[in-house]
Symmetry: C2
Subunit: 409 residues, 2 copies
């Protein structure tokens, strides 16, 4: 059961002009579920992406990098499959990723280099090419609708529900639409993005700005979430601007730029948080805010030390205000000159610790009350400077172990 | 159920001349269990220790550091309690730790600074001083026997069994005895030592050598184990050389020095591995060997990335050869110029991955066979240099979640 994550309503998801969606059931890993997605982009579309930093990155990630470089400005389609990550697959994996792109290119009459491939699923196994290519043909035949709910379903792995959202802004006489999807659940500690997220707008965004925005958006959304600290081999975050709508943005200061960026950020943060809310086995959604750090690096180090501590995560699962575990994580986060007497800890508005120990007014029942909630804000002030950061995470439950112990069976 | 960890037999544990043991039931957290331990040392004893690097270190750790400095060469007693860590307890925690030392000092007629205090248990709670001091009196009254099994029982928290071992060496006409105990189970990723381990020998070891050996021993034992990646607030590893036996060691090259160091290392590694074998919820004991790294830092980074990956740990729990998760962990361990085509992975003697993908001869049933074992050796060759390291860890099971979700209840 995801944490306070509403099932997307098909009617609330808005088509994005210049972006066609096609899906298919190719039985890549499991029968009878959508597992292939093709996004066809208008010729005017610009695409920017942030890809995994994992050195064991998947074959499709390598091919994506090549194609983004060789076909900069002329990407025509994205191909996504679930069920097999095509990672740890060596030279054959690259051959398969390129063959998938060629198959889309044949259907859509473009060059293979104009197609970006994405995969998610089990590592160390090869794509079942015959079934995948049949799925590509079927998905391309399905193009023409613009159903983002179908698209969100087609990229799920251990996700318990599809994740999709739309926003629309109006700038004078013109409007712009933003729609996006994401999938996540496990192996989530994006060093830049979740496993897969695709966002599209019908606005036109100049390539240098699009490139900068995609990174800024990732840093403010997918780079702030973690489920289990495992950076996936396939993480990809893609933003496409089809350019067929009326809004044209070249600079941050253009009319409508702030509004469009705001809508993009809202969609990106919603999609990133949705990944945590539907994190494997999650029963709690935790916002970690680290303040008064000397710099962003140490703020992040503290945030991730807390977010990745199995002891902290199991205490959240148990609704147990065993809050010394949070202090212990702060203590081993690697700040060698941390003065623990200047550290403060709050749970929502409850002041838990100060001066190296419990706050005098802290009462166990107050901590207990907050820990029972499904949404909990943890705030740590380090008393060292001005830097601050936020990280979103979830608890560690029995279901996380069950899901990952049974994933392949 | 610990993994292949025999229950210590009282008769196999050897008294160490110059070290007296006393224990008591003080009901610090739970009634009717040994929870206070006093070790009295002969006046000739020398003591060296390695203490936690956690900045939120416990009050007793701070007092230990002071006393080791001010009473170097004349430590007379160690006091250990379980049930309360006296960590995150601010100024009052220090007052309590000092009062505990003073109480031992009164009983044993020494100075409070000649006593080293150690605590383990729940964080953010104060010691119940009345019960503790009664326990100190009782434990001091119990001195005179040298029962290491009692001692091992008195320091347990979520450990499922006491951990104790002895070794004896003979050098010409003289012999030396080494006995040690440890406790662990959770919050185990010693940045130098497990939560608590105490070793003693009746040999005489010159203070500078003792100081060096204790660090080398920790680096080759407790610094190589991890259960959950959480470095405790109270980690302490203490080696006492009572000096009342016949063996006298001043230099590494002295007769018997190599034998004694060997026995100490054997005891330290056994105690460290015992902590992992009895790790919270552990069902598998995993040895990780990282080879051909460019330097020790990157070897360690890879070892800990694998050892701390919840996905890898749950796959071990499930006996599921989902070995791409190990490659993914290698990939995000932070080696930015790692060439994945030069990485090799073995599970015991089964060659799993090479050249960026599966080894051609690898068969799933071979991986499956090894994964079903209770002891598994993982070997990763990075193909970059000569450095190597070993880390011991365990799997992540439902019981880990249960134990830590219920710890305080």
């Amino acid at each position: 059961m995801p944490v306070n994550l509403a099932l997307p309503v098909r009617e609330a998801l808005l088509p994005v002009a210049g972006v066609d969606i096609g899906t298919a059931r190719a039985a890549i890993r499991k029968p009878d579920r959508r597992d292939v997605l093709v996004l066809r982009l208008a010729p005017s579309a610009q695409v920017a992406a942030v890809l995994t930093t994992n050195r064991f990155c998947a074959a499709p990630v390598l091919v994506c990098r090549e194609h983004l470089q060789s076909s900069a400005g002329s990407i025509r389609a994205l191909l996504v499959n679930t069920g097999c990550a095509n990672a740890g697959t060596g030279a054959q994996g690259l051959v398969n990723a390129r063959a998938s792109c060629a198959s889309v290119a044949t259907e859509l009459e473009c060059a293979p280099e104009q197609v970006l491939p994405f995969s998610t699923g089990v590592i160390l196994e090869h794509l079942p090419m015959q079934r995948l290519l049949a799925g590509v043909t079927a998905a391309c035949g399905d193009l023409g609708r613009s159903d983002w709910l179908d698209a969100a379903q087609a990229i799920m792995t251990t996700d318990t529900q599809p994740k999709a959202i739309s926003r629309q802004i109006r700038v004078g006489a013109v409007s712009a639409t933003v729609s996006g999807i994401s999938k996540g659940a496990g192996m989530i500690r994006p060093n830049m993005a979740t496993m897969l997220s695709f966002m599209a707008t019908d606005a036109s965004i100049a390539p240098p700005l699009l490139q900068r925005w995609v990174r800024e958006l990732a840093d403010a959304s997918f780079n702030r979430v973690t489920v289990d600290g495992d950076t996936s081999t396939n993480d990809s975050f893609v933003l496409a601007a089809s350019g067929v709508g009326g809004l044209r943005i070249e600079r941050d200061t253009d009319p409508g730029a702030a509004e469009l960026r705001g809508a993009l950020l809202e969609v990106a943060q919603w999609l990133a948080q949705a990944v945590v809310r539907d994190g494997e086995g999650a029963t709690k959604f935790i916002s970690l805010r680290i303040e008064s750090a000397r710099n962003l690096d140490e703020a992040s180090a503290v945030a991730y030390a807390i977010a990745h501590s199995p002891l902290v995560k199991t205490a959240f699962f148990a609704s147990d205000p065993n809050l010394g575990r949070i202090l212990a994580a702060v203590g081993y986060a690697g700040i060698s000159d941390l003065d623990v007497n200047r550290v403060d800890l709050w749970l929502d508005e409850v002041h838990v610790a100060t001066g190296g120990g419990r706050h005098p007014a802290y009462r166990e029942e107050d901590g207990q009350r907050v820990m029972r909630q499904s949404e909990i804000a943890v705030r740590v002030a380090l008393g060292r400077g001005q830097a601050a950061t936020t990280v979103w995470t979830c608890d560690l439950s029995h279901d996380y172990v069950s899901i990952n112990a049974d994933y392949r069976s």
